[in-house]
Each structure stands twice: as C-alpha cells, then as structure tokens.
C-alpha cells in the first residue's frame, strides 16, 4: 500500500496532464501539483471541446436540435436522444406507440452495453493491459452492426423522433439481437476470468480511490460512480420513464466505494441490460412505430420542463424553458460526467499518479459530453 504523504510545499512541481495525454481519452487537462509521484493538489481544466450545444438548443427548432444530442456522448448517444424526445413528448403531450417505446428501450440498452464494453477495454488499457480492449471492441462491433442496420449510423445516432421512431426494426435485427445475448453472456464470463480474476488487476483497484457516498452527493455524482459508493439510485427505477417499469431488472450496488466497486457495477450492469433486451424482445408488441397525431412544427406550451434519463454514464437531465415558440427560450443539459469528473480534484489528493489515473478511468469520462 502507499505510504503516507509528507507535504513539503517548497519541493512540489506542477505537472500538466493533458490536454493531450493518453490517459485522459480526450482533451481534458488536469493541472497537478506533485510531490514526487504523489499528487498534492489537482485542478481539472475543462472547456477544450466546448461547442455551445446549449446555446444551439436556443437557436434551433426542437427537431433540428435532435442530432445535437448524439454529439454529446459519442459512446452512448441513444440515451441522450432518448432524453430529449421524452422531454418534448411529455411537454407537448405527444402519445408514443408502445412498439416504439419497446424498440427505444432495446436499442438504448444495446447502446449501454456497447458503451460499457468500450469503457471496459479503455479502462484495462489505462491499467496497461491492451488485449481486453480488442476483445471488447469485437463484441461491441456486433452491437454497432445491429444498430447500423436499423438506425443508419454507427456512433452518432439520430433514430428517435418525437412521437416514435425513424425506422422500424426488421426480423434480421431481432434475430441478431437474440443471437447476441448468449454470445455476450459468454464474453462476460471470459472477461471475468481474464481481467476481474487477475491478481495484478485486483491489487490495482481494491481499496484504491475511495469515494464516499457523501462525496457523491456533494458533487452530484450519479450512475455507476454513485452506485459503486453504495447509493442505490437509478433513474430507470427511481423516476421511471418509457417502458422501464415493465421490465424486471436489478440495479447493481456495491458498498466498497473503491475503483473495483465502480468496475463491478458496470460489469453487472451489462448483464442487467442483457436481461432488459431479452425481455424487450420477448414482449415486443406489433403495431405502428409513429404516432398519427403529431403537429408538423412542434411548439411547446409556455413553461419549464425537465426530463431525466439514465444513460451509460449516469443521470442525464434536459431542462427546457419554453416561451411558446418553436425553439427553446433556454435549454440546459445536465451531463453526468461533468458532475462525476469534479470528484476527481478532491478524491485524488495524496494519491499516487498511477492510482489517480486508474481512478480517472473508473469514472468513465467522455470529454465532449462533459464540455458540451
């Protein structure tokens, strides 16, 4: 275990991790005050890929804004567009056919598995093991192929429409998804044997970077980060939306608060997502995928609307303040990584740099989503 840190403020130096650094997986900069390999103080500097998505939301109509949402988090884009369409549908009172909601749930969960798979590979790569990344992206490839077939895109999906979907799923998709589930379960077993059971891997994560539940509440951390700290909060359960109440699934919660707990939450979540997909495919009703009654130009009534969804990274919230026009008066995106990231400054004080960067990996950061 790491030795206690001795602070000698006159002998520290500043280390700039980023904006171009392999561990930050994007253009994030962390200004670290270092005492040898120990971090005395860290300060995250954001804004290198700020693209003013919130301002764009005020200048574009609601439908025009739809593709923007998938540019936030390029790994789990469907969850974000789902939040937007749900917000608009609820505010404008648009009914969504049941089939469309089921397909949304299936595709969102597939996307969540894809996102977690990529995180898994990248995280193990952060720890120096390169091969699991290749296995993970191979599994992810099956999901991307499936989603490409129905949505037409592989990464930045714009599949959901207000009141339904752009495209119905065909039998091929359902067949592929049914084939995928057992294959993925086999892969998860393989990952558990190859990575989770590895002694070096366990030594590097267990007891490292404790994030207390209190700290999660303080910074507003959600998703797997909060669930790894023992907070049983999942928007799909606590504030149910779409057809999630119809599904039988568990929310994995671990109380260890360390990097290993966050890792285990995500690995278990993949299994739960597979369960949801399985049930969704079973229950998938027939019928239309697009509502009949939908105004051509959507105008929201005057008011303040908020919708939260559980994305792969945590609770994503979209708040729309409408003055009755065809675009929003003010639009605010609450992105989960932004809150999760801010834990880092406080939690990594006194940590070794290699543990801190492993901790950063366990937060599952997607920088464009943070900077919006």
């Amino acid at each position: 275990m790491s030795a206690p840190i001795q602070l000698r403020p006159d002998e520290t130096f500043i280390l700039n991790v980023g904006p171009q650094h392999p561990a930050t997986h994007g253009v994030l900069r962390v200004k670290m005050e270092m005492d040898g390999e120990y971090i005395v103080k860290a300060e995250t500097v954001l804004g290198y890929v700020h693209r003013m998505h919130e301002k764009m939301g005020e200048n574009r109509t609601y439908a025009q804004y739809l593709p923007n949402l998938s540019r936030l988090d390029y790994l789990g884009a469907l969850g974000y567009t789902h939040g937007h369409v749900l917000a608009i549908e609820r505010a404008a009172g648009i009914e969504v056919p049941e089939r469309a909601e089921y397909i949304r749930a299936i595709t969102v969960e597939l996307n969540r598995v894809a996102s977690h798979l990529f995180w898994f590979g990248a995280f193990v790569m952060d720890l120096g093991g390169f091969s699991p990344l290749m296995y993970a992206i191979q599994d992810r490839e099956h999901i991307l192929d499936m989603l490409e077939a129905v949505t037409g895109a592989r990464l930045t999906y714009c599949y959901y429409r207000f009141g339904g979907l752009y495209n119905d799923v065909d039998d091929d998709f359902i067949e592929a998804a049914k084939r995928f589930i057992p294959r993925m379960r086999k892969s998860l077993k393989k990952y558990a044997a190859l990575v989770t059971g590895n002694i070096i891997f366990q030594k590097r994560l267990e007891g490292i970077a404790p994030v207390s539940a209190e700290m999660c509440r303080k910074y507003g951390a959600t998703g797997p980060v909060a669930r790894g700290s023992g907070i049983n909060f999942d928007v799909r359960k606590n504030e149910p939306y779409s057809v999630y109440p119809e599904f039988d699934f568990d929310v994995p919660v671990y109380h260890e608060c360390d990097s290993m707990a966050r890792y285990k939450v995500r690995m278990d979540e993949m299994e739960q997502s597979l369960r949801i997909i399985e049930q969704g495919l079973e229950k998938l009703p027939s019928g239309p995928i697009m509502t009949e009654k939908k105004p051509k130009n959507i105008k929201l009534p005057v008011g303040d609307f908020y919708q939260a969804v559980e994305t792969a990274r945590g609770s994503f919230g979209i708040r729309i303040v409408s003055d009755g026009d065809k675009n929003a008066y003010r639009l605010k995106l609450r992105s989960p990584t932004y809150s999760n990231m801010h834990l880092f400054d406080e939690a990594c004080e006194g940590m070794l740099i290699m543990d801190a960067l492993a901790f950063m990996g366990s937060l599952d950061l997607v920088i464009p989503e943070m900077d919006r």
């Binding site: 275990m1 790491s2 030795a3 130096f13 280390l15 650094h21 392999p22 561990a23 270092m34 390999e37 193990v124 790569m125 952060d126 720890l127 120096g128 093991g129 390169f130 091969s131 290749m134 296995y135 191979q138 190859l194 990575v195 590895n198 070096i200 891997f201 030594k203 590097r204 070794l352 740099i353 290699m354 543990d355 960067l357």
Partner: protein, 328 residues
C-alpha cells in the same frame, strides 16, 4: 596477434549483426504475436507475412530528423540511446550458442553480463534526465529503482547456480548440465532442492530487468506518455527500441544457459545450436505472451514484490544451497 584480432573483430561483427537482426525481427514477432492474441492480422502488407516491415521501419526511423528538445542536456540526450544499445551487444560476445560457437569465451562470463546489464539503468537515467521532461524524469527514476531492486534477487539466484555448477564460465555451466533434461539446473538437485523456484525468480527478474510488461513502469504509456523516451524520435527512439529487444534476447539466453542446459538436447541426442535457439525463442514467446495478457503493476507493488518476497526467498535459497554443498 593479427589472427586473434581478426577473429575477435569477425566475432564482434557477427554478434552485432545477430543482436540487430534479432531486435528488428523480434519487433515483427511481437507485433504478429500480439495481433494473434488480439484476433487481428497485425503487419501483413509489406512482403510475405509482413516480413519486410522491420527494414522499412528502420529506413523510416533513420530518415527522420533527430530532434533535441530545447533546454535538454545535449550530451546526455545523445549518449543515452547508444548506452542502451551498446551493452546489450557487448553481452552477446560472451554468450556460448554452442560448444564451438562463442565470440569470446570468458571465465567470468556471468559477471560480465551482469556488469553490462546494469549499465542499462544508466542509459534510462541519462535519457530521463537529459530530456528535460517531467514525465521522463519520473519514469527514469522509477525505472532505475526498479532495475536496482531486481538486479539483487537476479544476482543472488545466479550466484546459487554458479555455486552448484562451480564455475562462472557460461560454457562450463552449460557443459555441466549436458546429457538430457534431468541434468538441467531447473530441476531440483541434491545440492539445491529449490531450483524450480530459483528459475521462476530469475524469470520474473529478467522480465523486470528488461522493463517489459507487467513491469513496464519506465514507459507506462497511459500514465507517463512514453516514459523515459517521450522526447526521442528518429533513430534515438529506434536504438532504445532495439536495445530493449536485444536485452530480451540476453535475458532469454542467460536463463537458457543457467537453467535450461544451454545447447543441450532434452533427450541427450544431437546437442547443438538449434536447441539453444529453440529454447531462447520459446522463452521470448513467453515474454510476449505475458506482455499482452497482464495489466501493469504499481510501483509500490513492484518494489514490494522484490524486497519483501523475491530477495528473502532467493537469500534463503542461497543459504540452503551453501549449507547443502558443505554437507554433501
């Protein structure tokens, strides 16, 4: 005088050629091996099976501009890559590939190889310090503390073998193990019942000595960018790279000679250089396999492993062997 001098020069040239060819083609082997492990093709475009990749990489590296970062210590910066490669080549001089194939046989071969191997740490220190890059300095300090702490158990284990075989001459050590695998040092003998453990310690140490994963803390790419060679481009980087692979060959050769009987055939028939090469390449394949399977250890985990586990065990082993040699 001239004939012996000519002999030495020819032998040294062959040693350099062997080291360079191995370094170049082990990169190819490593990339192909990694690709096989990761279910992707790997380099397969240039030449059959991508076999032209190493020379083309060499040409690319040589034609690139040699950049020296502003504020760097120029002399140390330039010396470091040479210092990384040269000792590795020097070590080849004394390695006996077979009964008759050795550039120059020395009575203190084991000592010489260890002396040259410890110069590698200096190259890393010079590179890290000379680059004037915080990541490089951190990495070089890590790598040096790692090399120093792994040299100790490695040396102690080597001394155990030297004591059992009664010689520091690599050729004599090999000959002492001749006549089938049951004579090899890897198996427990009357004088040293803990030899298999010694072999494992020696193998772990040679992994750590060459800065290979899971002990690649000196170039921990996800933390310290590229470690001590962050600022190196062109052939400066190339030399570090080749030096690493040359050191792997040295490590595998030394393991083969000390524990696996050198050029001896496992069944006592047709001993020869092919057995030696087969053994070292099997060991190198294991190196590659380990690298692409395990994640990286932490620096404290690494030092703990050496100081708290490997050194006590190897010391105990040394003591036991010494006692048994005295008794029997």
């Amino acid at each position: 005088m001239s004939l012996t001098l000519l002999n030495v020069i020819v032998a040294v040239v062959i040693a350099i050629a062997f080291a360079a060819a191995n370094a170049a083609y082990l990169v190819w082997a490593e990339r192909r091996g990694a690709a096989r492990i990761q279910r992707r093709p790997g380099p397969n475009i240039n030449g059959p099976f991508g076999l032209l990749q190493p020379p083309l990489d060499g040409i690319k590296l040589m034609t690139k501009q040699l950049m020296i970062p502003g504020g760097a210590d120029k002399i140390l910066f330039m010396v470091a890559p040479v210092l990384a490669m040269a000792p590795a080549i020097m070590s080849f001089v004394t390695i006996p590939f077979s009964k008759g194939i050795a550039a120059h046989n020395m009575e203190i071969g084991v000592l010489m190889i260890f002396a040259f191997a410890s110069m590698g740490a200096m190259a890393i220190l010079f590179a890290g310090w000379g680059s004037r890059n915080k990541y490089s300095v951190m990495a070089s300090v890590r790598a040096v503390s790692q090399n120093v702490s792994y040299e100790i158990p490695m040396l102690i284990t080597a001394i155990t073998v030297v004591m059992v075989n009664g010689s520091m001459d690599l050729k004599a050590i090999s000959l002492a193990q001749a006549g089938g695998f049951w004579h090899w040092n890897i198996f427990p003998s009357l004088h040293s019942p803990l030899m298999p453990i010694s072999f494992i310690i020696f193998f772990i140490c040679s992994l750590a000595e060459t800065n290979r994963a899971p002990f690649d803390l000196g170039e921990a790419e996800s933390e310290l960018v590229a470690g001590f060679h962050t600022e190196y481009g062109s052939m400066g980087f190339g030399l570090f790279f080749m030096g690493e692979y040359a050191n792997i060959v040295i490590g595998a050769s030394l393991t083969t000679i000390l524990f696996l009987g050198g050029w001896d055939c496992p069944f006592g028939m047709f001993p020869g250089v092919w057995w030696f090469l087969l053994k070292i390449y099997l060991l190198i394949a294991t190196f590659i396999w380990i690298r692409w399977t395990f994640p990286r250890t932490t620096i404290y985990g690494l030092l703990n492993l050496s100081w708290k586990i490997l050194i006590p065990i190897s010391l105990f082993n040394l003591l036991l062997t010494a006692g048994l040699l005295k008794v029997f």
